[in-house]
C-alpha cells in the first residue's frame, strides 16, 4: 500500500491526556486545511479508560483503502504504558516523540529517530497540564511533514473551546519552537 502514499501517525497515552483529541485534530488539519484525505480511528470502550489508549491517523493524497493504522511512521507517546505497549508497532526507521516528563524511553527507542519533549512540564508552567497534547502536536507539526504547521494550527484553533484558545495557541507555539530548536541541533551535529 506504499504506492498510495499512506502516512500514518499514532498518538498513545492514557485516558484524559487528550490522545483522541490530538488524533482528531490532526485528521481535521489534513482534510480541512491541507486538502488531503485522512482517516481517524481510535480505541474506545473499557480498554481506553484508565489504561494505555491510542488514536491513529492515516493521511494520503488519494483514496485510503485501509482506514486503520498499519505500521505508523511516527508515534507521539505520552505515557510509559503506551510506550511499552505500542512501540513495537512503529515502523523501522520511524520517528518517536515522547513526553519526557512522563516517559523514560529504554533501549528499544535507540532504533528510532527519538525526540524528547518535556511537554507536561511546560504545560504545567503555562498553568494547565491538559495542554501538553497541544505542545506535542506543535512539535510533531514541524518534524513530520505529512501535515503542515499552518494546517495543524488552524485545526487547533477550530477544535478547542474559545475560552482556552489563547492558551492552546501558546502551547502549540511552544511545541513548534522546541521542534525548531531540536532540528537546528541535529543539523549542527
Amino acid at each position: 500500500m506504499r504506492s498510495e502514499g499512506r502516512r500514518g501517525v499514532m498518538f498513545g497515552g492514557f485516558g484524559g491526556q487528550g490522545i483522541v483529541t490530538a488524533g482528531f485534530i490532526t485528521g481535521q488539519a489534513a482534510v480541512l486545511y491541507d486538502n488531503k484525505e485522512a482517516t481517524f480511528t481510535q480505541v474506545y470502550g473499557p480498554e481506553a479508560r484508565g489504561s494505555a489508549c491510542y488514536s491513529g491517523v492515516v493521511v494520503s493524497q488519494g483514496e485510503i483503502s485501509y482506514p486503520y493504522l498499519l505500521n505508523p511512521e511516527i508515534m507521539v507517546i505520552m505515557s510509559q504504558e503506551a510506550y511499552e505497549k505500542f512501540l513495537p508497532q512503529l515502523q523501522q526507521g520511524g520517528m518517536l516523540i515522547v513526553d519526557s516528563t512522563i516517559v523514560k524511553p529504554g533501549k528499544l527507542a535507540e532504533k528510532y529517530r527519538l525526540y524528547k519533549v518535556p511537554a507536561t512540564e511546560m504545560a504545567e508552567k503555562l498553568g494547565r497540564r491538559i495542554v501538553a497534547n497541544v505542545i506535542m502536536l506543535g512539535f510533531a507539526s514541524v518534524v513530520w511533514d505529512a501535515v503542515s504547521v499552518e494546517a495543524l494550527q488552524e485545526a487547533v484553533k477550530a477544535g478547542v473551546p474559545k475560552k482556552y484558545l489563547g492558551l492552546n495557541l501558546k502551547a502549540f507555539q511552544i511545541g513548534v519552537k522546541l521542534a525548531e530548536k531540536a532540528l537546528k541541533k541535529t543539523t549542527e551535529h
Binding site: M1, F24, G27, V31, F40, Y44, S65, P67, Y68
Partner: protein
C-alpha cells in the same frame, strides 16, 4: 423501533441506529414495520457476534440477520457503506428507498465506518435528491390504506390528515382490517415480496470496475470494498485479469449482476468479515458457471488489500 414506526405513521421521516445486539431485539417490531409497510431506516453498526461478542471491533456477521431476522417471508432493502462519505450518501438513499417502496430499510454499516472519521463532502441542499412517500389522491371516503397502485405500493396517508387508517401486524385486507385466512395471506404476502422483486433492477446499485476482460471478479460490500478494490488494482499491476463488483445494495441481492458476469469470469472471490454469507448468494447465482471462493474472516480486524491480493494471485495460477 416501535417509536420510529409510530413517528413514520405520523408523517415524519424516522430512523434509529444500533449494533448487532440491538438489531436482534428490534427484529420483532421490524417485522411489524414490514407488515404495516412503514417507511423507516435502521442503521446497524456491525461488531463481532454472536451475542455481545466483540463490542468494539468490526465485523459483517449481520448480513443474513438483516435479510431474515424477523419471522415470515418478506423482502427487505439493505445498503452497505464503505466509508463515512458513503454512510452519508447512502443514508439519504435509504430514506428515499424506504419512502418509495414503503419498507423499513437497513443501512448495514460497521464499526469501521461508524466509529472512524474521514473526509465527508456534504453537497448543497438543492443537489440532494429527496423522495417522499406517495400520498392518497382520492377523497377520504374513497381511500383504502392498503389498496396498491399498479406499482404494487399503496399511497400512504398520515394519521391526522383526515383519512381513516387501520394498521395491524395481522394479515389484513385493503381496508387494513384483520382478515386472517389463506386467501388474504396469499394476496398480501405475495405483494409485500413482489413490490420489491419487480423493482429489483431499479433498487440494486453496484459499482463495477475492470470487468471488461476479467477472469476473476472480487465481490465485496461495505468496509471490505475499499481493500478489495485496492487488491484488484494490485493484481492488475501484475497483469492478472481481475475485476471488482462492489455491492452497494446488499439486499435485494444483485442476482442479475452475478448471473451476467458468471458467464464470463472463471472465478468469483468473496472476502467478507463472517464465515461466508454473501458467498452463498454468489454461489447460488453463479449456478456452477464459475467457481466461487470465499475469504472468510470472523471479524475483529478488517481484511487487508494484501490478503485479498494473495487470494487473487493463488486463484490466477489455477
Amino acid at each position: 423501533m416501535a417509536a420510529i414506526l409510530g413517528a413514520s405513521w405520523a408523517g415524519a421521516k424516522s430512523m434509529t441506529a444500533t449494533s448487532g445486539p440491538g438489531l436482534s431485539l428490534m427484529m420483532e417490531n421490524f417485522g411489524l414495520g414490514v407488515m404495516m409497510e412503514v417507511p423507516t431506516v435502521v442503521v446497524d453498526i456491525q461488531r463481532g457476534g454472536p451475542s455481545t461478542g466483540l463490542p468494539t471491533l468490526t465485523a459483517q456477521g449481520d448480513v443474513m440477520q438483516a435479510r431474515w431476522g424477523s419471522h415470515g417471508h418478506y423482502e427487505i432493502i439493505a445498503l452497505a457503506p464503505d466509508s463515512p462519505q458513503e454512510a452519508f450518501d447512502l443514508t439519504i438513499r435509504c430514506f428515499n428507498l424506504a419512502e418509495k417502496y414503503r419498507v423499513p430499510v437497513i443501512l448495514l454499516a460497521s464499526e469501521t465506518v461508524g466509529l472512524s472519521a474521514g473526509k465527508v463532502v456534504v453537497p448543497p441542499e438543492d443537489e440532494i435528491k429527496l423522495i417522499d412517500r406517495k400520498k392518497p389522491t382520492v377523497p377520504p371516503g374513497e381511500y383504502l390504506p392498503y389498496r396498491p397502485d399498479e406499482d404494487l405500493i399503496p399511497p400512504m396517508a398520515s394519521a391526522g390528515e383526515g383519512y381513516a387508517i387501520c394498521a395491524t401486524g395481522l394479515t389484513h385486507d385493503e381496508k387494513g382490517y384483520p382478515e386472517t385466512n389463506a386467501e388474504t395471506q396469499e394476496k398480501l404476502v405475495r405483494r409485500l415480496n413482489d413490490k420489491i422483486r419487480v423493482h429489483l433492477e431499479e433498487i440494486v446499485d453496484v459499482e463495477e470496475e475492470h470487468l471488461e476482460d476479467a477472469e476473476i471478479a472480487v465481490v465485496s460490500y461495505g468496509q471490505v470494498s475499499r481493500p478489495a478494490k485496492r487488491a484488484v488494482k494490485m493484481a492488475r499491476d501484475e497483469g492478472i485479469k481481475a475485476g471488482s463488483i462492489k455491492l452497494i445494495t446488499v439486499w435485494p441481492f444483485a442476482e442479475h449482476v452475478i448471473r451476467k458476469w458468471a458467464k464470463q469470469v472463471e472465478w468469483f472471490i468473496v472476502p467478507e468479515l463472517n464465515y461466508g454469507q454473501i458467498y452463498l448468494e454468489v454461489r447460488r447465482e453463479a449456478c456452477g458457471d464459475s467457481k466461487v471462493v470465499p475469504i472468510p474472516r470472523m471479524g475483529g480486524r478488517l481484511i487487508t488489500p494484501q490478503e485479498i491480493y494473495q487470494e487473487i494471485k493463488k486463484v490466477s495460477k489455477n
